[in-house]
Symmetry: D4
Subunit: 255 residues, 8 copies
Amino acid sequence: MAERRKFDDILNAFKCGEIDEAEAGARILELFYEGREHFLLDMEREKRLGFPEIIYAEGKQTGDLLDIVARMVEAKGRALVASLTPDGEQVLTESFHGQRIRTAGRMMVIGTASAAEPLGTIGIITAGTSDIPFADECALLLEELGVTVLTAHDCGVAGIHRPLMSLQRMEGAQAFVAFAGMEGALPTVLASLTDLPVIAVPTPVGYGFGSKGEAALATMLQSCSPGVTVVNIGNSVGAAAAAVRILRAARTSAK
Amino acid sequence: MAERRKFDDILNAFKCGEIDEAEAGARILELFYEGREHFLLDMEREKRLGFPEIIYAEGKQTGDLLDIVARMVEAKGRALVASLTPDGEQVLTESFHGQRIRTAGRMMVIGTASAAEPLGTIGIITAGTSDIPFADECALLLEELGVTVLTAHDCGVAGIHRPLMSLQRMEGAQAFVAFAGMEGALPTVLASLTDLPVIAVPTPVGYGFGSKGEAALATMLQSCSPGVTVVNIGNSVGAAAAAVRILRAARTSAK
Amino acid sequence: MAERRKFDDILNAFKCGEIDEAEAGARILELFYEGREHFLLDMEREKRLGFPEIIYAEGKQTGDLLDIVARMVEAKGRALVASLTPDGEQVLTESFHGQRIRTAGRMMVIGTASAAEPLGTIGIITAGTSDIPFADECALLLEELGVTVLTAHDCGVAGIHRPLMSLQRMEGAQAFVAFAGMEGALPTVLASLTDLPVIAVPTPVGYGFGSKGEAALATMLQSCSPGVTVVNIGNSVGAAAAAVRILRAARTSAK
Amino acid sequence: MAERRKFDDILNAFKCGEIDEAEAGARILELFYEGREHFLLDMEREKRLGFPEIIYAEGKQTGDLLDIVARMVEAKGRALVASLTPDGEQVLTESFHGQRIRTAGRMMVIGTASAAEPLGTIGIITAGTSDIPFADECALLLEELGVTVLTAHDCGVAGIHRPLMSLQRMEGAQAFVAFAGMEGALPTVLASLTDLPVIAVPTPVGYGFGSKGEAALATMLQSCSPGVTVVNIGNSVGAAAAAVRILRAARTSAK
Amino acid sequence: MAERRKFDDILNAFKCGEIDEAEAGARILELFYEGREHFLLDMEREKRLGFPEIIYAEGKQTGDLLDIVARMVEAKGRALVASLTPDGEQVLTESFHGQRIRTAGRMMVIGTASAAEPLGTIGIITAGTSDIPFADECALLLEELGVTVLTAHDCGVAGIHRPLMSLQRMEGAQAFVAFAGMEGALPTVLASLTDLPVIAVPTPVGYGFGSKGEAALATMLQSCSPGVTVVNIGNSVGAAAAAVRILRAARTSAK
Amino acid sequence: MAERRKFDDILNAFKCGEIDEAEAGARILELFYEGREHFLLDMEREKRLGFPEIIYAEGKQTGDLLDIVARMVEAKGRALVASLTPDGEQVLTESFHGQRIRTAGRMMVIGTASAAEPLGTIGIITAGTSDIPFADECALLLEELGVTVLTAHDCGVAGIHRPLMSLQRMEGAQAFVAFAGMEGALPTVLASLTDLPVIAVPTPVGYGFGSKGEAALATMLQSCSPGVTVVNIGNSVGAAAAAVRILRAARTSAK
Amino acid sequence: MAERRKFDDILNAFKCGEIDEAEAGARILELFYEGREHFLLDMEREKRLGFPEIIYAEGKQTGDLLDIVARMVEAKGRALVASLTPDGEQVLTESFHGQRIRTAGRMMVIGTASAAEPLGTIGIITAGTSDIPFADECALLLEELGVTVLTAHDCGVAGIHRPLMSLQRMEGAQAFVAFAGMEGALPTVLASLTDLPVIAVPTPVGYGFGSKGEAALATMLQSCSPGVTVVNIGNSVGAAAAAVRILRAARTSAK
Amino acid sequence: MAERRKFDDILNAFKCGEIDEAEAGARILELFYEGREHFLLDMEREKRLGFPEIIYAEGKQTGDLLDIVARMVEAKGRALVASLTPDGEQVLTESFHGQRIRTAGRMMVIGTASAAEPLGTIGIITAGTSDIPFADECALLLEELGVTVLTAHDCGVAGIHRPLMSLQRMEGAQAFVAFAGMEGALPTVLASLTDLPVIAVPTPVGYGFGSKGEAALATMLQSCSPGVTVVNIGNSVGAAAAAVRILRAARTSAK
């Protein structure tokens, strides 16, 4: 194939002294990727990392956002967009009205990818109703990637029976993603009841001291239940990616 | 009595114009208290507030500390000292070896007060063994003031049955003081299981982000169980005083 | 009753080995509560905790909010909603215009509960006029629960006579809730003048360093008057719940 | 068995009205655990969570520490102690000199457990030599639990070839634990090169602004590589526990 | 010249005792500058510092802004305005529609200065597309001052080949300005690959803990690659000024 | 007079045992002030403190604000209002259009007080044009109280001659108020050039790390010129009050 | 005198073109001061600023400290040293045992200056006994500069009569310096009772959240009594210098 | 040479399909470096970056430190060690007593490198005597690398003539490194007087709020003089490296 030939060319150029070591190394790396002027769409990332590139809408100008989404849909059949403003959501909906569109929280999926091979099962649990938009983002992303998602909402520790009951609905889950704002105690209690991975997502829910998720973040990092891991406040994309990594580890082991 | 006479004198001096309003008000206030050069022992405080003055040892020089304690023992029969260093503890133990001495955590009681009238019953619950020294300070102080103390230790949420079990040992308690470091979730869970007052005390236990009790403090202030109130990190004296105020409110109501 | 029968069924199923211990425990817990898909209305909470569930409007979508309120009004006769935006307030007012509606600050009460048994008397004191909306929320909630409320406004320490005078209007109060922003010194001064509980509520009033209630929160936690307890910034609901817990402790003692 | 009989007794007592629902639930929970006065050794935790209880030495008094360790060694054959001071380490070494003792960083293993079933393989990678004591704690704990550990040290991004080379030594690893202080960029780079789980551990290495691991923590939470999860600063125990949870998920799936 | 004469007058006035030392020193300093009532346009600054005065629009009232810009255009031919709001941008565009206008990010150049002598070459590299507006401000300013600018965008470490490739496009650059938000690792990696100056600019891009550029700032200050220097979050003007200072040092040395 | 009689009545009531000490003291204090339901206008404050009550508009509802202003204008002839929103400014302007109105920054003076006795002279110096609105508030307030104000604007240390020159315009000033945002170095430099009081006011001007006046506040508190005192960020009212206190001290001494 | 001649020489050198403007300005400035290699003893500072140079011992090596103190004693008759460690105190005491030595807190005065002209009277008030070492430093420094000092200790707001009584002992004071740790409310209350300057000094007294003086600093900056000014935590030297500036303003006015 | 042969081998192995692309790239990178078990001495770093590897002693165990230093001395003739404790300094001095040893602050140079080619001239300026140890570290490192160093100490802005005079001693400097603690204003003033690079180093000097260099860091990042760049608090090594990068840029340009 073309890439192979280019690679051989580089090696030969190096062998006969036309280029030095530094240049050889750089050219080889360059081969693996497609470089563009204003954005390097990391087309191979999904193959390499088992997780597609997410387009963060925040801070991007409308024209740039439309270009990137269009290019991604064309190349992959599907674009995944996060941190959309209401304006951005409207513009994308109008521009891609012929495409299949799914939304959750501030996330949008445009287009259709080829059917994903089933990856496994993840349980998503929220402490309160205000955490649901963040959980929905995570669920949408996981489903797009071929993950079966189980959910239990409004299971915070203010009623201590609720976390216990939530786990009973989670038959078959290989790992849990727990969303909580306020005092953020839910993942700690869940992790004391299961031996499976618990990914804790602090949400920007609360008021006064420690609001915007800071108290929840601190609680989760200080958890007295060993083995809770944490992603940043409101980072539902990161939580989904971490869950996929765990499922991938499980599949590797299963072979 | 002497105070009455002095009070009348002030009023008369004011009436005949010898002194103006400001001076009259100030002299009247002065009557109620005993003022000294370097420290104003607030001798009437116990009568007024139902809580004796606590001598904070931290930052005081040894000579001053001995003077104040001696004076308090002489006047009241008993001195309550907090935030003692090991050195301070040794000096006081030697200086007052003839007196009854009780210690807990960094607190020391020297001497004996007249038997306190029974005030009521308080339950003290800790999340981990590292919280016990703080709880012991609180218990010692409450007992000295005539409060019956019930205790349950090592009842953190990492084993969710433990907070439930701790409350079962608390028969008769009128309010609870809950000590927790790390993620500090214990008072939230307790408050979801009882309708009585829960005073939360964050302890400086933990590591990394949110250590020294800061995560626990944030958790307690953000508690999703309404009605938890909080004192400062490691403030076992303040928690005891708050518990006494609640018992006092209960006695007032009971009349 | 039905619950009793189900409970026996579980026990029997366990006895004859149909279900194991874990399942038996879980089913028993499940009996006590009513579980729903998107929110678990904790119907028994008021009976258990002596404090009704408060619906936090913040972060909830309008449809969800209307559903929850409607369901609560239907089940209990009355819904208590906090942290309302002006939009949310308008929507609720229109949707429930046939109901009795009371508002204070960002709180709204919709509907009527059966007459509450008198619980006792609470004194509410504010440092400045900007603290009044927070105090009004607390007062409204307490009154709905059958508490007699005494109030004194604008009693901050900038005029040192004002805290003294405020307490004189508080005849019969069993505990005090003190609201203050800025430097937040009011609860400290009040607690030096009374032996009853003082619940301190920092308000998000102030500017520059320590604004949004942070200076007031720090002051209250560092209070040199022992026995002040604190709730989070602007947490008038938590303060009301704490006051109710104290009154409940008083009633228990009085029996 | 005895537990079974007691359980039936409770159920019967409930059936005939001797005890109410609350008491029945509580007694049932109590059955599953062994309660003690000053500490509740959670003997069943290992069975339930696949992870033994770790004894945190910090804040415990020497007598208490020796008691707990002795009891754990007696019951389980092995005690795992973390956050030891040099003094504590010496006392334990002397008191248990007849036992097998292994140390790493501030952790100590005393005694021998029955041979653990092989759990899987974890790769441990450090950014600098100062991170090694934390990594060693993690490795010791994993090895004690039957995990095969691969290590690569001093692989920080200051030489960009080093993270790439570290992954080449990690054949067979199912997940990675990456330790980094200073700017903490290592886990981000690793996660861009693998599709397996990356658990990031900030270490308290660095100086000035963002020292004590705070810059590293922020970097790891803000990682531009999706799917990195984080534990608290220096929390090597938590990282080991999270790794074990992932291996457990893999084993479950493999069945 | 006039200034010389005034200077002699001052010296003479001092010699004959009409004025004292303090006044003499002050008057001499005053000679070098032009003072105005409401703003002191530092007309000589460009000559002294090799960098023109930048007009910060933020916090200035529209009238004042128009006055200052008009005066600067009249005196220098060109005004450089930073931190413009959309409103300010519109007002300036309308008021100076006859002038040449260039914009980038929140910066605007109005008018034309005499052709700048070529200063040298600077490479500008961004981690993500959201950093581009900040980089554009820097590039615009450098170009106006006679600097050749090379750019490479979207070169963050999530694809580790991208920073390597970005440097390959930077032939001839004498120093680099690197813009990054989120975890901010780009400048660290660049500085490990070049021996030229790297000026790091944290951008306010990111979410949750460490957002608004704080994580990036901490990362850059804690960089494990020695020799990275940092300017404040979003300070593209400062970065341009620092780059010009380096080029100026190079020119001085080259003579 | 009436107050005298009431005072005697209280004393007599106390003498004959009708009231106890506590009540006597409280009633006496009450005499000196005028109490109202929702706000205690501290009518005697100006006489006592030499500084009128400032009405903070922030957080007050429009109706309350109008009432308080109207009452103050009626009682004193003049109301001083701070922290006005544009809406509040418009409402007051319309409601009091028959009155003399002066505005500066977010402050407004409504009505006319009797001519103030000259108090002395204060110098006001700003670092940049963005600080002027804060300085204008301070100047307006001082002028209303009979103080002569000297001003010098845009005198920051970026041109080191500017602070020197600013002091030359300050002939006769008895103290200085210096406003600075950004790095806040101006008061330090001023205090190294004069032996008179320098009151430093950090302003919320700047960007990125240490913005909103926090860097300026830290700089001023850490000043290497001894004797700089500081008020809170943007607190022009507090700075004016502090300046008046100094002038009052000077007048007292002059007698 | 010699300086005058050198000054003329510079001016003449400038006039005949031997040196340029920049050099002339610099040489003139240089005349006024005495420059040394490692430290510029600012010998004229006292004359210029009415406040002697304070030698900060912290961070200085013993040899340097002894040199600087010896040189200062030789030149001025007296050295003022602050932030001494116990070791430094001992070394200085031994090295200068022939000199008059006075100590307070961490401050030491070595030697004797010519009798200072009386400057005026300052009142020093502390909230608690732990604040006294800081107040003593301030008092010692003021006395050395010829200020009459009045003191009142242990006057915190926990007994509200104490701040009132403290002011009664302050007859003749022209300004107040108030020291407080913990919640730091004392200066606010004092400033509500006097129209003279109140300089607030937060002390590093307290525990938990807001300890090390941070709560007190925030309180003082947020004070609801207008006109309180603040120096940094524990900055008794700065408070003394500020007090001297006020007395100097008063003397200027009195002339 | 051997490396060349190995490189060809890799290429050939890749060509004939024995290894895939990923392995080929990794092996090529591996060639350029020498890998060890516990630390990868980056032997080529000096050639690549023009700056030798600095050994950070902090957190390393004595044995490891001695090994690394010995190996570095053997390979390069000279080892550069930073952040030494007094103990570490003593151990190294004893272990390498036969070698040339130079120390400054917490830095030590052991052994001799071949004479460095002259790189250029750097000016080092400190604000106070407490900053000198940090400046000395920077100077020692620069001198070892062949840089001519000019120094001016104790030039802070408390005497505004001092920064001006310091620059007069800096004839020939191509860039400046400015060290300041406390309020950190020195680099801002220097940058307003020169058009050359100013690298600002905050030092951990100061007390109370903003101590440990935080106020100085904030000041330097907020500097109103454009073009100041900043390294972390106390980072004298980073400042030296940044200065070397600038000199290297200058040399490149000069060619």
